[in-house]
Amino acid sequence: MAELSTARPRTNAGPGRLLIAVYLLFAIAASSRAALQIATRFDEAPLAYLLSALAAIVYVVAAVGLARAGHAGRRIALACCALELVGVVGVGAVSLARPDLFPDETVWSGFGSGYGYIPLVLPVLGLAWLRHTRRRAAGAPS
């Protein structure tokens, strides 16, 4: 039983820490952008700005989930990365198909093109990292 607790999947060390750092940067970027947009010109593009706020929250929660490690943290990070991937692909597709719905940029529009496509790559890296650490921590019955 003691082995079980030491075999905890560590998502917050090594490459994981780099991932957390990038998530932190995006959390700062997205939340300050959303706060500014909502505070100064919410009426212009409510949908885009609410999505910015959602993206910001997801980045913050994902960073916390990865940093907390442990099983609850993993589950939170998994949910956030999945939601991010759906968000960036969904919003990216919609923003190209119906630009009129997004009169202003969000972190996720154009598949994250305004941010060097990092918003598209980040959830994939996150999911890969979660998978990798789970495999390494295997041995504990699921």
């Binding site: 090594g14 820490r17 780099l18 750092a21 940067l25 970027a29 500014l36 505070a39 100064t40």
Partner: protein, 132 residues
């Protein structure tokens, strides 16, 4: 009273900003080499981050002087947001690098030092009033 052809005069455009961008990229390159060689963040990276922070604080000072002179950024909200973020970046990199004394610590320094020049450029863009 500079009525030159270019209506810039942004305090974020000077040699200080250029120096910060160049130094940031140098530290990023240095940290990348360290990460590729499986080296933890070394003294050079931390000194680089320290000097970078001094340059950025200098940028804040120059901006404060310009504000006192009555100049105003084109998009004040974004400008001050970027300015606050900017001075937090090198300390963030240093703290995370100290927490992760492996090659990944160097990778973090590299990542943050690649983001810093982007924020400096955004800072310059949000000072200038966009025509129309």
């Amino acid at each position: 009273m500079t009525t030159a052809a270019t209506t810039t005069g942004s305090p974020a455009d000077g040699a200080l900003a250029v120096a910060a961008i160049v130094l940031s990229l140098l530290v990023a390159a240095w940290a990348l080499v360290a990460a590729l060689r499986h080296r933890p963040p070394d003294r050079m990276q931390l000194i680089g981050l320290g000097v970078l922070e001094l340059l950025l604080l200098g940028l804040v000072l120059v901006t404060a002087v310009a504000l006192a002179d009555g100049e105003r950024p084109g998009e004040p909200g974004s400008f001050f947001g970027y300015l606050v973020t900017l001075v937090c970046l090198p300390p963030l990199a240093a703290v995370l690098a100290r927490m992760e004394p492996t090659r990944w610590g160097s990778a973090i320094v590299c990542a943050v030092c690649l983001v810093t020049p982007v924020v400096v450029v955004r800072l310059q863009q949000t000072w200038q009033v966009l025509g129309g």
